[in-house]
């Protein structure tokens, strides 16, 4: 609302009637340019126009001012050189180019084009093809090459009983027409045996006994012709690689195979839903198996490489492995390599992998083995051990094989159940749990021995020697190994018991000696010595019982047996601490003078031998002295030493026994 409107309403005099119309005119002129909000803002100012309203908007003028003239387009005639006839001139919209604009002949040319288009039959129009643009799509016109042959060539090389020349010609024509698209060629192939001049236009003609050619027939004939013509043009020996392979393909075309293949394909299409599903699942299975064999092969390769490693060494120097020790180290090497390689557990593929791993380990060894063994037996004294080792490996290798069916049997429970008798004869055994990978059965024996300390080991071997049982089994069959195991366990208990009895003997002697000394000191004739052992024996019997119980516990606890027994032996030591300490320096000096007490078992053995020598002179005292000294030492030193000392005391006895023998 403008101010003059308010004035009007209030009947106020305006600012001079003369000026008003001119102002109105002014504002109306100004308003013409403004629209919408801009006009409202303008009106707010009333007679005094506000400056913020843009004075001029130049976009309208600029719209035409700064633009280039519109692009010119024209209907330009063009032709397509890919056409069979050059007469068709079509027109499409193209931008007008500057080159053509000033040229005088342009309208002329267009006229020519159009006149040609209008009256196509009029050839006098003579379009200048050079000036007409060629279609950019002409280059896409590709045609197939169909073999050409003359009448003579046909008669000399291409004659065929089944095909007349006429039909062959027709075939070639159809092939050219349909660009070698065989399904269409077969679909449209309608040859009528020449009956006058039968036209190819067969849709209207009556068909007189048409031969039904299959797609394979057509292909076979075409390839035959093409291959022969190829050979005619260039003999086979002069063809280059591509030509030759093409020729080969065409020559080797077998229509029968194709027909058979198609029959299969058709049968495959006609499957029922169940068949389709079954096939799908079978395919899945096959794929799975293939994937598994790949994995399996890889594992096998890995295994081979692992097994190959030491054998390559042996080819260089076999002698290092000829001793049992050597074999043992080889085994250890293999095992450490096995562990360090950190391979995946073979459990999943166990059923397959075990025979394979057994195979290669057996194969290189088994055949040349016999001679080697013979040699070694003849040659060296240590051949004994070596022979054992070899035998072990062969035996385990041959044994490993029969293990396969059991594992397989676990996987496939439908396998026939063997009777106990058969299982024995075939060497079939069932296991709850198998360690991964192949093992020598002999290892089981070794394990028992190796877990023991060396002293114990030595004692066990000694016992075995006594029993005339070789430490290395000559023929570690399952039964033998089982028996051996049993034997070793028994030896172990025997040794333990022997140790105990030795200890008690020593105690008894000690007590006796003490008594004798006391008696000596008291001046009493050693008469009541007979009564003394009786009472002592009563107490000893109690302690023995205690010890026995402790020993049992210790056996349960495994290797701790020695330490616990040592603990029991400490008691008397503590009880006779005064005496012992008195004695110790004198006896200890004696001992130190003869040989230094060493911790290792060989030292202990030597000691035992030395003591034995002294035994004759020193008698009981000496014996008890060593016993005391031994019993004292553990209290000050570590458990390991203690056990060693205990062992040595036992070994004393065994050494004595050996002497007796």
């Amino acid at each position: 609302m403008a101010s003059h409107d308010v004035r009007d309403m209030l009947n106020l005099p305006s600012e001079g009637g003369g000026s008003r119309p001119t102002k109105k005119q002014k504002t109306s002129i100004a308003r013409q340019n403004l629209k919408g909000l801009a006009r409202e803002v303008q009106n707010l100012g009333g007679d005094n126009p506000i400056a913020i309203v843009p004075e001029i908007s130049s976009f309208k003028r600029r719209r035409f001012g700064s633009r280039k003239p519109a692009a010119r387009w024209e209907m330009r005639p063009f032709r397509n050189s890919a056409r069979g006839d050059e007469s068709l001139i079509l027109r499409h919209w193209r931008r007008k180019t500057d080159v053509q604009q000033p040229a005088a002949p342009q309208p002329e040319q267009q006229q020519n084009g159009e006149s040609n288009e209008d009256k196509m039959d009029a050839d006098n129009g003579e379009p200048k093809p050079d000036e007409l643009e060629d279609s950019s799509f002409a280059k896409f016109n590709v045609k197939v090459d169909v073999p050409q042959y003359s009448e003579d060539q046909y008669n000399s090389t291409l004659a065929n009983n089944d095909w007349t020349k006429d039909e062959t010609d027709y075939l070639m024509e159809v092939v050219r027409d349909y660009d070698l698209r065989w399904p269409i060629i077969w679909d449209r192939y309608e040859y009528q045996a020449k009956d006058g001049d039968a036209s190819t236009d067969s849709s209207t003609a009556v068909v007189p006994a048409r031969k039904n050619r299959t797609l394979e027939d057509l292909k076979a004939r075409y390839y035959e012709v093409a291959a022969k013509m190829m050979a005619v043009q260039r003999p086979v020996q002069y063809m280059n690689q591509a030509e030759f392979s093409l020729h080969e393909i065409m020559v080797n075309f077998k229509p029968e195979d194709e027909t058979r293949r198609k029959k299969f394909a058709e049968a495959q299409m006609g499957r029922s839903k169940e068949e389709a599903r079954e096939e799908e699942s079978l395919l899945l299975e096959v794929r799975r198996i293939l994937a598994r064999t790949e994995k399996f092969n890889q594992e096998r390769r890995e295994l081979y490489s692992r097994l190959d490693y030491p054998t390559t060494e042996t080819t260089q120097d076999l002698s290092t492995f000829k001793t049992s020790n050597g074999l043992h180290t080889l085994l250890q090497n293999l095992m450490t390599a096995d562990k360090s390689k950190k391979r995946k557990p073979l459990m999943g593929t166990d059923g397959q992998s075990t025979p394979v791993t057994a195979g290669p380990s057996a194969q290189p060894g088994s055949t040349p083995l016999v001679e080697q063994r013979r040699e070694s037996i003849a040659a060296s004294a240590s051949g004994n051990g070596h022979g054992h080792g070899r035998h072990d490996s062969t035996a385990s290798a041959t044994d490993a094989r029969p293990e396969k069916p059991t594992k397989k049997g676990a996987q496939a429970p439908e396998r026939k159940k063997l009777s106990e008798q058969e299982e024995l004869t075939y060497g079939v055994s069932t296991h709850d749990r198998l360690p991964s990978g192949p093992t020598f059965r002999y290892d089981r024996i070794n394990k028992i021995l190796t877990t023991k300390s060396n002293a114990q080991h030595a004692r066990i071997t000694n016992t075995l020697n006594e029993l005339d049982v070789p430490a290395r089994l000559t023929m570690p069959t399952k039964a033998v190994v089982d028996q051996m195991e049993h034997l070793l366990v028994n030896i172990q208990t025997l040794l333990d018991l022997k140790k105990l009895s030795d200890k008690f003997d020593a105690e008894i002697k000690l007590e006796k000696a003490k008594k004798a000394e006391k008696d000596k000191a008291a001046g009493i004739v050693p008469q009541p010595a007979a009564a003394e052992p009786a009472t002592k024996g009563g107490t000893n019997g109690e302690t023995a019982k205690e010890n026995g119980a402790a020993n049992k516990d210790a056996k349960k606890a495994g290797g701790d047996a020695t330490s616990s027994s040592a603990a029991t032996t400490e008691k008397p030591a503590a009880g006779e601490g005064v005496n012992g300490e008195k004695e110790a320096p004198t006896k200890g000096d004696e001992k130190a003078s003869t040989e230094k007490p060493t911790d290792d078992s060989t030292g202990a053995d030597d000691k035992a031998a030395a003591k034995e020598a002294k035994d004759d002179t020193n008698g009981v005292k000496q014996e008890t002295g060593t016993g005391e000294e031994k019993e004292e030492r553990p209290s000050s030193s570590g458990g390991q030493k203690r056990s060693a000392s205990v062992l040595s005391s036992v070994s004393d006895k065994s050494a004595k026994r050996q002497k007796k023998q």
């Binding site: 692009a71 006839d85 068709l88 931008r95 159009e114 002409a138 399904p183 269409i184 499957r271 068949e275």
Partner: protein
């Protein structure tokens, strides 16, 4: 026609297009479609039915009118069709020429009747002086021949049914060349065009049209003649099924097209109509009634009829009970009577798939055999092509035609094919847009005629003059 482009480069190069302002004509039994190549929808779609008005004063003469807007209730008026119902090929060539001229000339190029664009003054002005003179000359040259060669500027691409015979094809090129003076002509088969419209050179085309259903294998842009399968299971057959259902329903349902209704009042569902019928004071030819009935039934088909989607046939136990629990569709007739349709709307279409489920028809010709059901057509078609092609064809099934727009058609077809060919990859390609499905063949023709590589294919006027009409057999294979 081709719009002037603002960019300097011509983008059609990318797509291999090169417009030469060709026309595309696709004639079917129910509709005839015409338009400009390169467009995505035909400019002019007319029913193939036309009206023949008997001139009362002239003894034998009759005047034909084309287009829906001329087909209304009037005396001495007969509705005819220039196409053959069973074959979907041209039957009445004289009328065909008239009809096509009405479309190609009058409807597509109305300016022909007016002044030429170059002479009406609109395009005068700043053009170069040489240009103007050139155009004038061209126009004058054209005008001289306009009378007899109205299509001298536009190549024409026509479609034909795949089973079209040689004589009819020759007739078509004769008309195009002699009557209209087309500079170039091409005759393409509808399945090929439909496959092109779906962007495929090889496909199994299932064309469910108004009068016919055809299944054709197309390989590399060519039909395989031995594979052509045809059946009359189409829109009109479906209409007859609906008629049969209407007749057999308990209160018989009258089909009264809207021209018969003077006024109607709303009634309850299932109640009889209370409409007042129009009284015509002249005799109406029964063909008009039939035409109007068909239109009403088409509307019914579009809004009510559905195809049982499967799996299995609709007649399998339980299916109908399930359908009865589903919400139905209400259809109101022009006379005001309305009804809820539930299981019936599935029943009428089931005959397409299961010949035992078809409803009894009046004429024996309408009955279909097992071999004429859609799945069997496809099976027969596939059996007639090389084994090697079959998997590819099954993976490229193009569904086109107006009747394929029935709800659930594609689902059912897919289910049927899956059970028929288990283990094969079956893939249907059906355009989502209604127009693309209805005008599939036309759109394919439009694509084809605007391709740059197609220029070498056209049969030019000169070739026609040299070889005669027989050239169409040689070239358009």
């Amino acid at each position: 026609m081709a719009q002037p482009l603002t960019t300097a480069s011509v983008p059609t190069d990318i797509y291999g297009g090169d417009e030469v302002s060709a026309l595309v004509l696709d004639a079917g039994y129910c509709q005839t479609r015409a338009g400009f190549a390169g467009e995505d929808v035909p400019k002019s779609v007319l029913p193939s039915f036309y009206g023949a008005i008997k001139d009362t004063n002239a003894a034998s003469g009759s005047r034909n009118v084309f287009g829906d807007d001329f087909i209304y209730a009037r005396p001495d008026f007969e509705v005819k069709n220039y196409m053959s119902r069973t074959e979907s090929v041209v039957e009445d060539w004289d009328t065909a020429v008239q009809m096509w001229e009405a479309m190609l000339l009058d409807r597509l190029q109305p300016e022909r009747r007016q002044t030429q664009p170059s002479k009406n003054g609109l395009n005068d002005g700043a053009d170069g002086e040489g240009d103007v003179s050139m155009e004038d000359a061209a126009v004058s040259a054209e005008n001289a021949e306009n009378a007899e060669k109205p299509l001298a500027e536009s190549p024409l691409l026509m479609t034909e049914a795949p089973w079209n015979q040689g004589k009819a094809r020759e007739k078509a090129i004769e008309i195009a060349m002699e009557n209209w003076g087309c500079p170039a002509f091409w005759l393409s088969r509808t399945p090929v065009c439909a496959a092109f419209a779906a962007g495929k050179a090889s496909a199994l085309v299932v064309d469910v049209g108004g009068a016919n259903t055809s299944v054709t294998a197309v390989h590399d842009g060519m039909i395989l003649k031995r594979s052509i399968q045809k059946s009359h299971v189409g829109g009109i057959w479906l209409s007859n099924q609906i008629r049969s259902m209407f007749d057999s329903s308990d209160p018989k349902i009258e089909v009264r097209p809207s021209y018969m209704i003077e006024s109607k009042v709303p009634v309850d569902a299932g109640a009889p109509s209370q409409a007042i019928l129009r009284k015509l004071n002249f005799d109406l030819h029964p063909s008009y009634r039939a035409y109007e009935d068909e239109r009403l039934l088409t509307e019914y088909k579009e809004s009510v009829v559905e195809v049982w989607r499967g799996p299995g046939r609709y007649s399998n136990p339980g299916n109908e009970d399930l359908v009865k629990t589903q919400p139905g569709r209400i259809f109101e007739m022009p006379d005001g009577s309305n009804q809820m349709w539930r299981e019936q709307r599935f029943r009428v279409s089931e005959g397409m798939w299961d010949e035992t489920a078809q409803l009894p028809t009046t004429s024996e010709e309408e009955r279909i055999t097992k071999a004429q059901t859609v799945p069997e057509l496809i099976r027969a078609c596939l059996n007639a092509v090389d084994v090697d092609l079959r998997p590819n064809l099954l993976g490229n099934i193009v569904v086109t035609g107006g009747t394929s727009l029935l709800n659930g058609f594609n689902d059912r077809l897919n289910n049927e094919l899956m059970t028929m060919y288990p283990g094969m990859r079956v893939k249907l390609h059906a355009a989502g847009l209604t127009t693309e499905r209805r005008f599939g063949a036309w759109i394919g023709g439009s694509i084809l005629a605007s391709l740059g590589t197609f220029h070498q294919m056209w049969i030019s006027k000169k070739e026609y003059d040299e070889n005669g009409a027989g050239i169409v057999e040689k070239r358009c294979k």
